[in-house]
Structures are given as C-alpha cells and as structure tokens.
C-alpha cells in the first residue's frame, strides 16, 4: 500500500488545529488565480464560509446573493451556462438543505459544473443547536446522479479538494466543518477525487472515516493498540464516487469494518459503505455517527463526546465490536 505522509506530532497536544473551511477559503482563491472562469456566490455568509479571501482578490467575480439559497444555486446554474465555474457557499443546513430541488433540476440533471459548498456541517457546529447542525447532507447529495461528494479531513486537504473540484467539470458538493480540526495531513499528502487513503495499516479491523472523523479514527487506532488490536485506518474524503478498490482491499485483509461520520448514518457515509460491501464483499459492519436523531446545543467537544464521536469513544465501540464479531473472509 501507498505510504500516506502524516504530520509528525500526530498525537501531540501541540498538533495544529484549523477550521476545515479555512482551507476552502485558501483553495478557492488559488483556484481563482489558476482559472479566471472560477466565480463565487454567497448567501450573506461570506466571512463565515471563508469566501472573503476570493472576494478580496477578485471582487468582479464575486456575487452577493443575500439570504436566498434557492436563488444562490439557480443563478449559479445560469452562470455555468454562460461558461463560468461557480462556487456557491452557505451553511449546509440551508444549501443544500433548503434548495435541494433546485440543485437536483438545474445543476445535477442539467449537468452543470456548479460547486455547492456546505459549511458548518455536523454536530461540531456546537451551541447553535440542531437547526444549524446539518447531518443529512451526505444522504441527499450522494443520491443525486452526476453529483460528486467530498468531505475533506482537514484544512490542508480542503485546499487541495477545492482546487481539484474547480477543474473536474462536474456538479459537486464539498462538506465543511466549522470548528478547529486537527491537521493530520501535510502538503505532500496526496488528494485525488475518487481516491481513499490508508493512513495506517492494520490487520484486525478497517476503520473507515470521512471528514472530521478520519483524525478521530487515528486516535482510536492508537488507543486500540493498548489492547493488542491492530486497526487499519482508511481516510475516505470522496464519498461519491467511492474508491471501491481501496476499501475492498482493506476489508478483505481485516474482515471487519467500522465507519465513522459526523452525519446521519442512515443514507450517509455508513450507508454508502454498507451498500458497497453487502453487494461486493459481505463483511461485519458497525456504523458510527448520528443514529436517526438530531443534534442539540452544547460545546463542540462536549457534543462529539456525548454522541460517541471522539477517538476514545470510537475505540471503545470498536473493541466491543471486535470482541463479539469474528473476522469474515480473512485471506492469507
């Protein structure tokens, strides 16, 4: 397997943390420098979604839409028809939460390369509460034909994701988190749309994560070492299209699977993996995430712990799962 470069102080208290959306802000500005067809539209959240860097650099290519998410994506669809590559941003609860039909008809079915950027996804949004903690976005976006869905794992990767999505020529969704998230990848770490990456090799279980959860899985794998469990950690930033080969290779080796996401597992990343493996490689599966319920107000760390989404809590679940579940289809 490929060696994925990670930061040196991966488990140190001093690991750098940065909101994933900050990487998007840098990536969008860079994408705008590379390609003058890139334009940006925002629904009254320009600083919050980090579009402000692009706006400062390219004021003539930035369009303020106001609090009108349906108009946000449909104006973008029109700009794409006129040859532009529009990035639209708002909080994920509003876009794609409120304007899904417009995205379906005027972007996905219409096959226009509009980029929907949903910031503030997941429970780690924190005190704003359930209304603003978007959990259903993975489900409603990955079900759309033509749509690419990516949840970067940290801000460094988000920058690469944004630049790649700008040039992919497809309707695409980027899922971003609000809170500071540990930066586990480095400049040299690879990112390609449609690729999953083995962050750490192991033989007893495959821990598959997307977005903010991939770092937590690294923490969980380290905790599992103490129990003599060798967990493999696979980072899956692209939820659609899935890197089936990498995922199936990993689970064939380990014979057990745990998925983790800061989203509804019903229809979400866990469901995507369940669909894949139940058809191609039936393997015992435990899905970690939001289990058919909404979030609530609280501090971000508090909420992640409450909903069992920290490395430590995931390690406990993985341990119990391994203790009760034999490995299937183990080869060699």
């Amino acid at each position: 397997m490929s060696h994925y470069p990670l930061v040196e102080n991966l488990f140190g208290d001093d690991i750098a943390k940065e909101p994933i959306r900050a990487g998007f802000g840098r990536g969008l500005k860079a994408a705008g420098e590379i390609n003058e067809r890139v334009v940006a539209l925002c629904a009254d959240l320009t600083d919050s979604t980090q579009m402000s860097k692009f706006k400062e650099a390219f004021p003539e290519r930035f369009v303020e839409i106001g609090v009108a998410e349906q108009n946000l994506v449909t104006v973008a669809s029109g700009m794409a028809r006129a040859g532009k590559i529009p990035f639209t941003s708002s909080y994920a609860a509003f876009s794609p939460g409120r304007n899904w039909e417009q995205i379906r008809t005027t972007i996905a079915l219409n096959d226009q390369p509009v980029k929907i950027v949903g910031s503030h996804a997941g429970v780690s949004v924190g005190p704003d509460g359930a209304t603003h903690q978007m959990l259903e976005d993975i489900a409603i976006m990955r079900v759309l034909p033509n749509m690419v869905v990516v949840a970067p794992g940290d801000s460094v990767e988000a920058e690469k994701v944004t630049k790649a999505i700008a040039e992919n020529g497809k309707p695409s969704y980027i899922r971003l988190a609000r809170e500071k998230t540990p930066v586990f990848s480095v400049e040299e770490s690879p990112f390609e749309i449609g690729k999953a990456y083995v962050l750490r090799e192991g033989s007893d279980i495959s821990l598959l994560g997307t977005g903010t959860m991939s770092y937590q899985l690294l923490v969980a794998a380290k905790a599992l070492e103490a129990h003599g469990i060798h967990a493999e950690v696979v980072h899956v930033p692209t939820i659609k299209p899935l890197d089936e080969a990498t995922i199936l290779h990993s689970i064939t080796k380990t014979g057990r699977v745990l998925t983790a996401e800061e989203a509804q597992v019903n229809g979400g990343f866990g469901s995507a993996i369940a669909e894949l493996i139940s058809e191609k490689k039936p393997t015992p599966l435990l899905r970690v995430g939001m289990l058919d319920r909404f979030g609530e107000s609280g501090a971000p760390e508090e909420l992640l712990d409450h909903f069992g989404l920290t490395g430590a809590k995931i390690a406990e679940k993985a341990k119990a799962f391994i203790d009760t579940t034999p490995q299937y289809h183990r080869e060699g």
């Binding site: 106001g66 349906q70 108009n71 029109g78 040859g83 008809t105 079915l109």
Partner: protein
C-alpha cells in the same frame, strides 16, 4: 436570426406553431395544451424576429439566450425550434416518447438549442439572471440579451421573487422577461388560487421596467422587446395578456385544459379551427 418576416408572416407563423402543438400533443397522448397555444405569438416573434441565434450552431458564442421557466409549455418551444431549423420537424412527433430528445419537460443535455432544464417552477428567471449578470458585469458583452418566459401561476414561487430582487438590485438591463398572464393554473384561476395583483406594481417595486401588452399582437410583442432592449438601467418585464388555449375555441379560457392534451376528435376539430380561422376562411390544407 432575424429573417425579416412581416407582421402577417409572424401571425401565420404563430398559427403554424399552434397546429404543430395540437398534432404533437394528440400524438403524445399527454401534455399541456392551454399554455403553449396561448404563447404562440410570443414564440413566433421571439424566434423569428427578435432573438439572435444560429440553429446550425446552437452554441454560437455570440447568441442571445432564451430560458423557458415554465417548462411544461415546452411544446410551443419545440415547434418554434423545429421551424427555425434546430432539428427536423418530423422529430416533433417523438414528444414524450422513450428515447426522444423532446422530453416532456425540457432537458438541456438532450437537445442542442435548449439553454436550461426546467419543469419544477420558479427557477428559470434565476438562471436567466445568472447569464445576464455574467454578460453585463463579467464578460461585458452589452449587445447580447437574455430572454425568458415565465407563467403567471409560476409567480407563486418564492424563487421567482428572489430572482426579481437580484435582477433589480443589479440592474440587469440585458434581461427581458415575458410573463404569460393567462390567469389560469392547475387548480383554477389565479385570482382564486393565489391572487397576483397588483402585478404591475409588484415588478415595478422590485426595480423593473414594466410593460403590459396584448400577448397575441405580434407587433406589440416586437415593439415591447425593442423598448426593453433600449432600457439600460433596469431589467425588463413584459406582462403579456394572453388567452389560454388561444385559437381553439373549446380550449379558450378553460383552466381544465392547462394539463390535458386533445384526443383525436378534439385534435381534428382544433386543427380545423386553426386552419380556417374558426370557419372564417377555407382552410388551405383541407
């Protein structure tokens, strides 16, 4: 693609498009009758007098754009496009059939010459605004125009007014919208389902230049488009008063024909009426 048709030519063209619509809908066995018939003069005038395009090169990079927001009226657009030479007229009879490029509601990716995919109401004006914004502020091509047609029942949608506000704020003067004011929607008349008046005042208050015309008078349509192009500090809306089902007396003014096609007897009668100006002349085809 200005073919320099006379007013009389355009009037005849509108009736030819109506005949195509009746034949297409009868053959398809489903679809919307009233709206497309009522829009015949507007489409005839836009496609054969007003808009600049090249049917042999639909992606011509200097063309005007056309957005149909109320996608269910697409039979009249298909009829105009076929007449203009975008595709062979025989293909009109494939409407709504499996494998056809002429989907029940328009799909851009299927048929060259369509600028958008529509059907779910209320989104076409925003897409047209996106193009108009690009032409005016980014690509700076002031000689190109963006035309759009919306229904009136469609104005119930919030997305329309989001677009109206956006176009008004940005003074999108290359955007010209025709509202098909035929006073019907599926559940009844617009004043019964959801009153729209004062429609003129609503658009005006959103910062638009407003004209009201007889939507069956091709000269008025042409003049309104001309006036709209001359307005350089506002987007333009033309409230076109039309008769739903126009040209076929048993369909006129009856909202039940919003979403129904004629059967073969009704189609025969409708074609007779269209070809004879309702019995006033001898039909050349009969």
């Amino acid at each position: 693609m200005n073919k320099q048709l006379t007013i009389t030519d355009l009037e005849h063209m509108a009736y030819r498009l109506r005949e195509d619509v009746i034949r297409m809908l009868e053959h398809a066995g489903s679809g919307h009758s009233a709206g497309p018939l009522g829009l015949a003069e507007i489409f005839a005038t836009l496609y054969f007098d007003v808009m600049r395009y090249d049917p042999k090169n639909p992606e011509w990079d200097d063309r005007d754009y056309f957005f149909l927001s109320n996608g269910h009226c697409v039979p009249i657009q298909y009829a105009a496009m076929a007449e203009a030479g975008f595709f062979p007229k025989e293909e009109l009879m494939t409407l709504r059939r499996l494998g056809s490029r002429l989907q029940g509601h328009p799909e851009r990716t299927k048929l060259p010459g369509l600028e958008n995919t529509s059907g779910p109401l209320g989104s076409g004006l925003s897409q047209a605004s996106g193009v108009a914004y690009t032409l005016q502020y980014i690509d700076k091509q002031p000689h190109r125009f963006v035309y759009a047609v919306t229904g009136d029942g469609e104005l119930d949608e919030g997305n329309i007014w989001e677009a109206a506000m956006f176009a008004g704020k940005n003074k999108l003067s290359q955007l010209i919208v025709f509202v098909d004011r035929n006073n019907i929607q599926i559940d009844g008349t617009t004043d019964h389902v959801m009153p729209l008046e004062d429609l003129h005042g609503k658009w005006e208050s959103f910062g638009w230049h407003v004209q009201e015309i007889d939507g069956h008078n091709v000269e008025s349509i042409r003049d309104a488009a001309s006036m709209a192009r001359a307005i350089t500090n506002k987007p333009s809306v033309v409230i076109a008063h039309t008769i739903p089902g126009k040209g076929v007396d048993f369909m006129e003014y009856d909202y039940h024909w919003h979403g129904s096609p004629p059967n073969s007897e009704q189609a025969k009668e409708a074609l007779h009426k269209l070809r004879t100006l309702d019995g006033k002349i001898k039909g050349e085809h009969e």
